[in-house]
Amino acid sequence: MNFAFTKEEQAFREEVRQFLRDNAPPGMRRKMVEGRHIPKEELVTWWRILNKKGWGVSHWPKEYGGTGWTPVQEYILREELQMHPAPTPLAFGVNMVGPVIYTFGNKAQQKYYLPRIANVDDWWCQGFSEPGAGSDLASLKTKAERQGSKWIINGQKTWTTLAQYADMIFCLCRTDPTAKKQSGISFMLIDMKSKGITVRPIQTIDGGHEINEVFFDDVEVPIENLVGEVNKGWDYAKFLLGNERTGIARVGVSKERIRRIKELASKIEACGRPLIQDPTFREKLVTCEIELKALELTQLRVVAGESKHGRDKANPASSMLKIKGSEIQQTTTELLLEVIGPFAMPYDEHPDSSHRAMDWTMQIAPSYFNNRKVSIYGGSDEIQRNIITKAVLGL
């Protein structure tokens, strides 16, 4: 038993750091630190830099452009991106639809889509949730009907993150309304420019615009855009949802936020001394840090296990990492809010506008509000507990 990184892994970490120092645009980094909006063009430019280096889809199999790295190396890359901080690759393409395509898609789909995902030639978004299908995802109603060489899609998706930027959406659609709910679903790849698609923004409590409603009104989709077999979409969706593990706890994000909390709490005075010296505040911070240390090690236990034995398709450990990771992310945003105290109050109605001189405190309350989402998305904490109950405890 040994939890030290090897010399090679340490050298690799240094290589990643050096690459980020040399190549990540400083302006983008500043925006990340302050939790500000990063325009689409800047993100795409950055992800292409990463892809050019060969790190855009590092965890994919080699034949599709991956690196053949160990899970530990992938973990290091992700952690260093989060701590730099720099945006991690667009999950909807790289971590979600990409693996579904190379695992279940046909050769033509693989050849066409995979390089485009890697280079963000297509911005992907996710069409899973519906107004009536949240945690009970399999009750989704958006339907696809076969008409000659096309599927005709009708229905509505919601909570669609960054659909306003998207070129493509992967959708779960009901193709057999008579089958049991999980068994009549298919997995479709749909061009967002198709006639009949309407995207309507949803403003979230932080004032921002990340998520959308997407309406499908007799949208025509070529039959070759079905992934795998018809009515097998639920299996692919389960694969997709269980796939994301090394990053789910977002340990690097929380580490970076704790660094920022300390930086700010050392500058801000409370009761005539820096807030960081206040014992009550400090104990809360340290409690959070200890939980984070434990989570990091729990995560490394999972990663080391995967390095040694390969990946078990349905590792329920990801549920544990998700629950604890969400809790800690939320605690860190809460602490940051506490650090700025009354200066959390001012609200800028147009936080994305570039003509204003933004004060760095302006994004802290919104970030706190926004981070309530992490225990809801990707399978809510309660769904994760259901998974642990069944898969680990056998209840």
Binding site: K262, N386, G394
Partner: protein, 380 residues
């Protein structure tokens, strides 16, 4: 990076677990508890035959030269079985003082007897007002020719009833809370001037309050530097905390297992109570708390090899915080999920809860260690 056990470690784990399964069921444990001093001589001999009592000692001293992981394995297994025998005070603490601070002559005099199971130890450290501070010592050691005279009172000395030898922390110079002027002294338990009041503890161990009145010991009683013994004391107590973390993980693991089994079999409203979501989610949270605790127990074990003493201390303190928090949550919830039966002495689960609760009060609770980490620089 590798969190798995080596082949030898796996075998050790299987052999300890196997022995304890055979020799340490709940009914047998009750019998051992009734023996003098609250533990079984036969089990102790079994540990000696298995080589467990010699694990951490260097091969040159007759031991096996095993490391932190082996200690973790043994302590976790002992936690699972709620072992009563004095492994912690004898092998971890007594052995720790001998390994980290003793002269060659002291090692030769005591280590073989520990390994053979012929000598057990107790750690006389706690005082009326010291609480968890190792530097808070009023028991005095005064120079007496070549030797020393010890006077003072020590409390809740685990295994104080049966121990053949006591390790006593005592002050020879300075004020009550000074870090310097403290030494560790190895005192025969039958030395003249020692009087004991013995009693069982909440979790079924046996302890003693011990009074030292003009107890004379020779120069060979001092372990290491009599005036600057605190670093060794801190080192050994960190080892003991680490061992307690591992034991607590074993306790939590087993009590969660028992609780899940109970949830599968206990029926109310015509169905197993494990089918109720409010209880399922509680159990899922207990699992998460257990894994967080397990990670920090491993962290503390690995920290035993850190070169920097303050880094080691910080890691151990952080682990004890996590163990305290997870232990309290898991312990309380195992009782709640059992309902009324969990409140009874006859159910095993309550005994796990009591052990967890007492571990929290041993060598610093979560609040104490949180302050220690907080006073230092941060962890991450």
């Amino acid at each position: 990076m590798d969190f798995e056990l080596s082949e030898e470690q796996r075998l050790l784990k299987e052999s300890v677990a196997g022995q304890l399964t055979d020799a340490y069921d709940f009914e047998q444990r009750k019998k051992y508890m009734k023996e003098k001093g609250g533990w079984s001589k036969a089990i102790w001999s079994m540990f000696a035959e298995q080589g467990l009592l010699g694990l951490p000692f260097a091969e040159i001293d007759g031991g096996f030269g095993a490391g932190a992981v082996e200690s973790l394995i043994v302590m976790e297994s002992m936690g699972r079985a709620l072992v009563l025998e004095p492994y912690l005070p004898t092998v971890v603490i007594g052995g720790g003082f001998l390994r980290h601070g003793a002269s060659a002559a002291q090692k030769a005099a005591h280590i073989p007897l520990i390994i053979e199971g012929r000598k057990t130890f107790a750690f006389a450290q706690l005082e009326k007002s010291s609480r968890y501070d190792l530097n808070d010592v009023t028991t005095s050691a005064k120079k007496n020719g070549d030797g020393w005279i010890i006077d003072g009172e020590k409390f809740v000395v685990i295994n104080g009833e049966n121990a053949d030898a006591l390790i006593v922390t005592a002050r020879n110079t300075g004020a009550q809370r000074d870090r310097s002027g403290i030494g560790a002294f190895l005192v025969p338990a039958n030395a003249r001037g020692i009087s004991k009041r013995t009693y069982p503890t909440q979790d079924g161990l046996h302890a003693a309050d011990i009074t030292f009145t003009g107890v004379e010991v020779g120069s060979d009683a001092v372990i290491g530097d009599p005036e600057n013994g605190l670093p060794v004391i801190e080192r050994v107590v960190d080892d003991a905390r680490t061992a307690l973390c591992a034991e607590a993980v074993g306790v939590m693991n087993e009590s969660l297992k028992i609780t899940i089994e109970y949830m599968k079999t206990r029926k109310q409203f015509g169905v197993p109570i494990g089918s109720f979501q409010s209880l399922q989610h509680r159990a899922a949270d207990m699992f998460v708390a257990l894994e967080q605790a397990r990670s920090m127990s491993i962290f503390a074990s690995m920290a035993a090899d850190f070169d920097d003493a303050s880094e080691r201390a910080k890691a151990v303190a952080a682990a004890k915080v996590q163990i305290g928090r997870s232990g309290k949550f898991i312990g309380q919830q195992t009782i709640q999920l059992h309902g009324g039966i969990g409140m009874t002495m006859e159910a095993k689960v309550g005994h796990y809860f009591k052990r967890l609760t007492m571990i929290e009060s041993t060598f610093g609770d979560a609040g104490y260690h949180l302050r220690r980490v907080s006073e230092n620089d941060a962890l991450v």
